[in-house]
Structure formats: structure tokens, C-alpha cells
Symmetry: C2
């Protein structure tokens, strides 16, 4: 069973690429500081453990907005819909 998750982050420049490399394994990179996607609980916990070992807890900030069903979340776009998945880190 998968859930839908939006991940946003505010991380020091020194660590941001490490965080993005981890998130790219699990989610789609949809905006400069935003990833989203459907994921199993098991993989979500694995992703969090990897991030936890990389971020600086008292400085960096990562939010996981978790929803049981993607359908409950209606995404509207103003301006450009971006996709950075093709960027190699």
C-alpha cells in the first residue's frame, strides 16, 4: 500500500545536494525545494533514516506532508509546472 507525500526542505547549501540525492531515489523533484510522490511506509521510513544521518538537526528543516490517498490532495499550478528529475546531481 502506498501513501502520497509532499516533501519540502530548507537545508544548508553545504548539505542540500546530499539531501536531494536521497530524495531523488524515492520521489519526483517538482520544484526547487519540493519533492512529491507515492511511496510505501517501509520506503518512507528508509528515506527518513537516510536523511536523518545527513542533515544537521539543529539547523536544517525537512517537512513530510503525508496523505493516505493522493485523491485528497488537489494540486493547482500558477505559472510554470517544473520537473527537475532530469538534473544529474
Amino acid at each position: 500500500m502506498t501513501i502520497f507525500v509532499i516533501v519540502t526542505y530548507d537545508v544548508n547549501e553545504k548539505r542540500v545536494n546530499k539531501v536531494r540525492k536521497i530524495l531523488k531515489k524515492y520521489f519526483t523533484w517538482v520544484q526547487n525545494s519540493v519533492f512529491e510522490g507515492e511511496i510505501t511506509y517501509g520506503k518512507l521510513e528508509k528515506c527518513k533514516r537516510e536523511l536523518f544521518s545527513v542533515i544537521e538537526k539543529d539547523e536544517d528543516s525537512v517537512y513530510f506532508y503525508e496523505m493516505e490517498y493522493k485523491i485528497v490532495c488537489n494540486k493547482k499550478v500558477l505559472g510554470q509546472e517544473k520537473n527537475y528529475d532530469s538534473i544529474i546531481l
Copy 2:
């Protein structure tokens, strides 16, 4: 009736403060590029109209993740939970 909305943005430096000033009227500034909060449909549409007049449609990107009930969205924090509401723009 209010809905719960997460707003994320990737906007050119020249326009980002204008965007933030508008969003601060309607939402809570919870991370560098993220606002969130509960809002009526009427005010949400008003907020979007104001943003639409400020952003550059073919360059800037603003996402509205809209959910009927806040309870469907479970927010988890890794590291710091930030709040920029006290910042004067």
C-alpha cells in the same frame, strides 16, 4: 467553510518578496519556500488573483496543494520546525 492548503513557490529573486508579502496575508510562513494554513475558497481565489498579477507566468512557479480537511494531512518534521511569521518584509 475552510480548506487546508500548502503553498510552495520557486520565484525569481526580483519578485520573491512581493509574493511573500501577499502569502503572509493569507497563510503562515513555515519554511523558506513554503506557506500553509486554513482558508476559505473566497480568500484563496483572492490570493491567487493577487499572485497572478505579480508573478512572471513563464518563469515563476507557485503550487497550491489543496485539501478539504486538515486531518487528511499528517505533517512530520525532521530537524527544525521553522516559523518566519515574525519577519517583517
